[in-house]
Symmetry: C2
Subunit: 249 residues, 2 copies
DNA sequence: TCATGCATCTCGGGA
DNA sequence: TCCCGAGGTGCATGA
């Protein structure tokens, strides 16, 4: 069996056959079609006639892409269940149970259907995340300041979860809020919430926002609230790369 | 010219020809291939060999989908520029200028290429948004409480933008923070930030979180901070549907 | 399941 | 352009 089967301008019956076969063989189904779309669930939407690419994945994920933007115009998340109904026109129906959501695609004209028996055992290896900023801080606490001692990672407190909890050289409790990208007002509010929570039970608590940069508004609020900022880039290049880099010196 | 052109098992030269023709004709390009992926930009990633669906849109959007999940495993946003390089293997290269980001897809084997001359003039019509909650509140302020008078929508204050600013029957300033779905800790922090900002300049300020429900933690923090909650569902069915519904009674 | 917070978030609106 | 906040956010993680 070839990796990709395809059929141009299929009849309604062929559409049903191909879709059903894709579903039962857990293949990745792609349909190039002129269609209308109806969604009802957490919200509700309608999309008039137009040419779109429709993808149905074996895990139930359902994507409808227009010819612009990164985001699908309509979709259904993994776990949804799809089937075809032959009404006046063939209709793709995808149903999600919790929360209840329904997506219907009226196929006015199907230009091409493909059934892709995709094999993929690889997972993405990504570096430059907030998690790696935390690892860096635990390995080299001096990137925050001399004498800083990180104690907890992802520490639950009364109203939220603190990124890094530690003490400074004076013994003060220090809360770190890490952001892998430019920190905004939201990040400051988050840090403030943790600091206020901890201040209730302990004496002085310092709050430090750790990020590559700050928005203007974040800087203003941070200063007003007596919180601090430490500039830090998320490290790109995980353990392997760091090992390589070390060998260069 | 047909809506969809396609070529199974193309040679490297044919791949380059088809990709270039899709780009120059502003068509939607889809490639079913066994490939490796390298990304470097805001973060950095690698993805080993596997079967994926690659979509390149005429606006520069670039998507790589595995056979699971709603999200692309790698991508490039609109405005990126793509081209093909014929190295040992054909490579799709997509470059974004600001911030600088590069995505490279090494095409180890191409099963099928499609070039879709998609025409689509429709836009999604969605109902059930936060914006519609605000409209409802301005049309029927009593859904908040008797005597409430909404005055401003999306009102910029010192540290952020308030959803709805109004006054109650006693003349107190009232801040509303609207959420179309269950409100969480973040929503409470946001409301608290606005209330504190306004309290600095005015006397008493009430803060009301308006949402269909609250998380457990949000309820606790809300009560501790002396903020209020008003239950409200986002209205589904815009002006038309509301008209229909009225006619039913 | 729910709660919490990250994300190469994306996207739109406003200054 | 930056800033700010919504989103049918999706998604992983932990309780």
């Amino acid at each position: 069996m070839p990796k990709v089967e395809f059929r141009a301008n299929p009849s309604p019956e062929e559409i049903k056959l191909l879709v059903d076969s894709a579903i039962s063989s857990e293949a990745l189904l792609t349909i190039f079609a002129h269609c209308r779309v109806y969604y009802d669930g957490r919200a509700k939407s309608e999309l008039g006639s137009g040419d779109r690419v429709i993808i149905v994945k074996p895990d139930g994920s359902f994507l409808i892409h227009q010819s612009k933007k990164r985001e699908p115009v309509n979709w259904q998340p993994p776990g949804s269940v799809v089937h075809v109904e032959l009404r006046e026109k063939p209709v793709l129906v995808s149903v999600r149970r919790k929360p209840p959501e329904t997506l219907e695609v009226e196929l006015e004209e199907v230009y091409l259907i493909t059934v892709f028996h995709a094999e993929d055992y690889e997972e993405l290896a990504l570096t430059g995340s907030e998690a790696e900023m935390a690892e860096l801080i635990f390995e080299q606490p001096e990137v925050i300041e001399p004498g800083f001692k990180p104690l907890y990672r992802e520490k639950p407190v009364k109203h939220g979860i603190v990124d890094v909890l530690g003490v400074d050289s004076q013994g003060n409790i220090v809360v770190l809020e890490l952001k892998r990208r430019r920190a905004d007002l939201h990040a400051v509010s988050q840090l403030k919430r943790y600091v206020e929570t901890l201040k209730e039970e302990h004496g002085n608590v310092r709050g430090i926002l750790v990020a590559p940069s700050l928005t203007s508004g974040a800087r203003k609020l941070l200063e007003k609230e007596g919180l601090e900022f430490r500039k830090l880039q998320p490290p790109k290049g995980g353990k392997k790369s760091r090992g390589k880099q070390l060998r260069l010196f």
